[in-house]
Amino acid sequence: MDINKIRQDFPILNQQIYGHPLVYLDNAATTQKPQCVLDSIIRFYTTYNSNIHRGVHYLSEKATEIYEQARQKVMQFINAKSRTEIVFTKGSTEAINTLAFSFGQAYITPGDEIIISEMEHHSNIVPWQLMAGRRGAKINVLPFDNNGELVEGALERLINERTKIVCVTYVSNTLGTVNDIEKIIKTAHAHNIPVLVDAAQAIQHIKIDVQKLDCDFLALSGHKIYAETGIGVLYGKEKYLEEMPPYQGGGDMIKNVSFELTTWADLPLKFEAGTSNFVGAGSLLTALEYVDTIGLDNIAAHEKQLLEYATEKVDQIGGITVYGRAKNKVSVLSFNIEGAHNYDVGMILDKLGIAVRTGQHCTEPIMKHFGIPGTVRASFAMYNTFEEIDKLAAGIERAKKMLVC
C-alpha cells in the first residue's frame, strides 16, 4: 500500500493550517473524501440528478439505478442475504432511532428489558431511553473494565426472561476497543434475544460479514468510510423488518394511501420515507469501491501499525494517561496529559496544524467511569503517516511543557 499515492487521492490533506501542514487525526469523527467520491457527487448533479423511484423519464431511471446499485454494493460489502435487508438512513444515529422506534412498537411491553453497554456512543443510548420511556421498558448496562474491555460474563448475568434486545457497539469511538461481538451475539442468541451491532466505528476498519456474525441488526454511517455525510444504513434481518411497523411516514414508503387505510411499501422502502439522500448513496457506492481497491485488510494493517507506533511514542513521553488498553483495538488513541485539561491540549495542537478531537466524544458514561471531564482523541485513517505521528508526539510534548508546571 503506497501511502503517498493514497494521500494524493485526498485533496483536502494538501494544505497549510496556521502555517503548518495539516495533520488530520480526527478520523473517528469523520473521514476525508477521495477525489473519486467528490467527482461522483459532481457527476450525479451534472448528469443524472433527478428524483428516484418516481419518474418515468430517463434521468429518474438513471438516478434510481445508481441508488439501487449503491444498495447492492452495501449488501455485498457486509454480505447481507438480500437487498431488502439494506435500509438507507441519514446515518448510524437515524438507523438506531429507526430501529429503537420500530422494534419498540413491535416487541416491547411494559417491564421488558434492553441491554446496552457502558461504552456506547450517546446515539446507542438515547434512542433506547426514548423508546424505554414510551414503552415502559428498563435499560440494563453491560460494564467495562479499566482497560476498556467489556466485563467477561456480565452479559450472561444481565440476561433474563424479560430481555428483548442487546445493543452493543462493535468498536468504541472513544476507547478504540473492538468488542468480541461474535461471542455477544452467540450468548444473546442462546436466549433467543436479537442483537443490534453499532458498526459506525467498525465498518472502516474491520471486514464485516453480517451472515457470519449472525447479527440481527447493524447500523453504519457513510461519512466514516470516506463517503459523503448524510447517508447511512440500517441492516436488519428480513423477518424483523417485515414484522416491525415503519418509523416515519411519507412518500416512497407506502403502497396505497387512503384516508381509511394506508398500506406499506415492500422492504426496504417501507423504512425510507421521503426523498432519500440518493446523491449520498451514490457517493457511498464510490467510496466502498474505492476501499475495495485499496483493500480493507491493507488499510487495517497500516492503521494497526500507526496505532502501535503512536501508543509507543505517547508512552515514551511520560506523564500521559492513555484510556483504552484493550488487547484488540482499532486506530483510536484517547489520552490526557496529566495535570492539563484536554481542551487546552486540543487548542495548542490545533495551532500546530494538528486536528484532534477533545471532550467527551458523545460518551459521557465513559468519562464518568474514569472520573474525567474528557480526553484528547487522535484517530488514524489509511492516509495517515508515521511522520504525522511524530508531529503529534512533538505537539503533545510542546503542550505538556506549556501546560504542566
Binding site: Y18, A340, H341, N342, Y343, D344, M347, I348, K351, L352, T358, G359, Q360, P373, G374, R398, M402, L403, C405
Partner: protein, 142 residues
C-alpha cells in the same frame, strides 16, 4: 481606567506576539496570576456549563458603586481569556459595563474562542457579566 482604555492596553500588549503559541503562553501566564473565585463559591449557581470546559463566575457590588468579579475555569487557556475579561470589567460601574462594546477579543485574534458554537462557556460568561451589571443597576435605582 475606563473599559476602553483597558481594552486598548490589552491590544497593545498582544501586538508583540506573532506566533499563536506565544499568545497562548501569555494567556497561561495571566491565568496563573488570576485571583480566582474561592472554592466555596464554586456552587452550581455560579457555574457556566460549557460542553468542554467549565467556567465559574461570581460578582459583588462594592461600596463605591462598582462591581467586582471573580471567576475561574478548569481549562487554563480559557482561564487566561477570563483573566483578560475580568481585567476589563472589574471595578467598573454597572452602567459602563452594560453599555460597553467589547472589541479587544477580536483585535487580539481570539474571537474564535467567543463564537457561540465554541463549547467553552466564555460567551455565556460575558452574557452573565452583563446580567450582573443589569441586576446591580436595577438595585441601585431602587
Amino acid at each position: 481606567m475606563t473599559i476602553n482604555e483597558i481594552q486598548d492596553q490589552i491590544i497593545e500588549e498582544f501586538s508583540i506576539y506573532d506566533e499563536w503559541l506565544d499568545k497562548y503562553e501569555y494567556l497561561i501566564e495571566l491565568a496563573n496570576t488570576l485571583d480566582v473565585i474561592e472554592d466555596s463559591k464554586k456552587t452550581p449557581d455560579n457555574i457556566i456549563q460549557g460542553c468542554q470546559s467549565r467556567v465559574w463566575l461570581d460578582a459583588a457590588l462594592d461600596n463605591d458603586g462598582t462591581i467586582s468579579f471573580r471567576a475561574d475555569s478548569d481549562a487554563i487557556i480559557t482561564k487566561g481569556i477570563i483573566a483578560l475579561l475580568i481585567r476589563v470589567f472589574n471595578h467598573q460601574k454597572p452602567d459602563d459595563i452594560v453599555n460597553a462594546e467589547l472589541y479587544f477579543v477580536d483585535e487580539i485574534g481570539l474571537s474564535a474562542n467567543l463564537s457561540p458554537t465554541r463549547a467553552n462557556g466564555l460567551v455565556a460568561m460575558i452574557k452573565q457579566i452583563r446580567y450582573y451589571a443589569l441586576a446591580f443597576r436595577a438595585l441601585e435605582k431602587k
